[in-house]
């Protein structure tokens, strides 16, 4: 341990603001990247499930099962 007290650790010899600002930013960016993927994945499954349910209810036309689709354009 390079610091003796918790206060020393937080103040970082006067450089605390810079060190903690840099670490917090990086952690936010890293966690943000991880969360972005997870949330997008959850959103995708929620929407796809809703669509499947509506298809099962027959409220919308079935797009048809395709075995291997070419890449689709954006809407």
């Amino acid at each position: 341990m390079s610091f003796h007290t918790l206060n020393d650790f937080l103040v970082m010899g006067g450089h605390g603001l810079y060190v903690w600002l840099a670490y917090l930013t990086t952690i936010t960016v890293v966690v943000g990247n991880v969360l972005a993927v997870q949330m997008a994945r959850r959103r995708y499954f929620r929407q796809a499930r809703a669509l499947e349910r509506r298809l099962a209810g027959g409220t919308v036309a079935d797009p048809g099962d395709q075995t291997g689709s070419p890449m689709k354009g954006k809407q």
């Binding site: 390079s2 450089h15 810079y18 060190v19 840099a22 990086t26 797009p63 689709s69 689709k72």
Partner: protein
């Protein structure tokens, strides 16, 4: 005998290459890899960060502000590697028209761009106590800024082209040209530094860091690469789901998950 052996090796390699072109195959085998890299990233990054933040000895010149190195250097290194990877993916896409390469090209941009921006920001925060200014036109800072512009170009080009396949191939050309340019940009900016700035700005100037200082750095660098691998696989899987949303196997997968 050796002829047939090498033939079968080349055949299985060829089969592997063809499989790699199949998004479904990639989706199905990549789950365990994503988990492996994710766990590795978590362990390495927590170890390296705690070690660097609390246990590494203080730098005799810079005091504690040098601890920013443990977040600044890994993000800077990985952001350059990600661009290089996109150049390679661009080459694969243009030569072999592999779908997965196109997906790598679009899935790697958010991670690379955010890491570049993060490295620039932490560099500025590190610069304030070290150089006395938030922004210094130092060679590495400037190269990183140009890299951010290169990332933004890729992002903007993809947004501007409505057809996905065309956008992918356009980005492939741009990423390739950018990758060829990066070494020249770095060299020229380095040369420019010797012209305009006194050469006293060496951040990691300590010629021989003790192991207690560089080992956590190495751990964090490895950790961020694992994080990139896990994140890229996650984004690729998502892209596959979106692009193949009308195929039988994706619809079956959705029904399976909801059941």
């Amino acid at each position: 005998m050796s002829m047939s052996a090498s033939l079968s090796v080349s055949q299985s390699l060829k089969a592997w290459w063809h499989k790699l072109g199949s998004p479904r195959w990639f989706y199905e085998i990549s789950g365990p890899w994503q988990r492996l890299f994710g766990v590795l990233a978590l362990v390495l990054l927590v170890t390296g960060t705690v070690w660097g933040l609390a246990f590494a000895p203080q730098d005799y010149q810079q005091g504690n502000s040098f601890r920013i190195m443990y977040v600044h250097v890994p993000t800077a290194i990985v952001s350059q590697s990600v661009y290089m990877l996109m150049g390679a993916a661009g080459l694969v896409l243009l030569v072999w028209r592999m779908k997965l390469a196109d997906m790598v090209l679009s899935a790697a941009v958010p991670f690379g761009m955010s890491m570049t921006a993060c490295a620039l920001f932490t560099g500025a925060v590190w610069g304030k106590p070290t150089w006395g200014a938030w922004w210094v036109w130092d060679a590495r800072t400037t190269s990183m800024l140009v890299l951010l512009f290169l990332y933004f170009g890729l992002y903007a080009l993809r947004q501007a082209i409505p057809r996905e396949e065309t956008a992918g191939r356009a980005c492939a050309v741009l990423a390739l040209v950018g990758t060829v340019n990066i070494p020249i940009i770095k060299y020229s900016v380095n040369w420019w530094l010797t012209l305009h700035q006194p050469a006293s700005f060496t951040l990691t100037g300590a010629p021989s860091m003790p192991p207690s200082m560089w080992v956590p750095l190495l751990i964090n660098v490895l950790g961020i690469y694992c994080l990139f691998a896990a994140n890229l696989i996650g984004r690729l899987k998502l892209t596959i789901l979106e692009r193949e949303r009308n195929t039988q196997w994706v619809r079956a997968l959705v029904r399976e998950v909801s059941a």
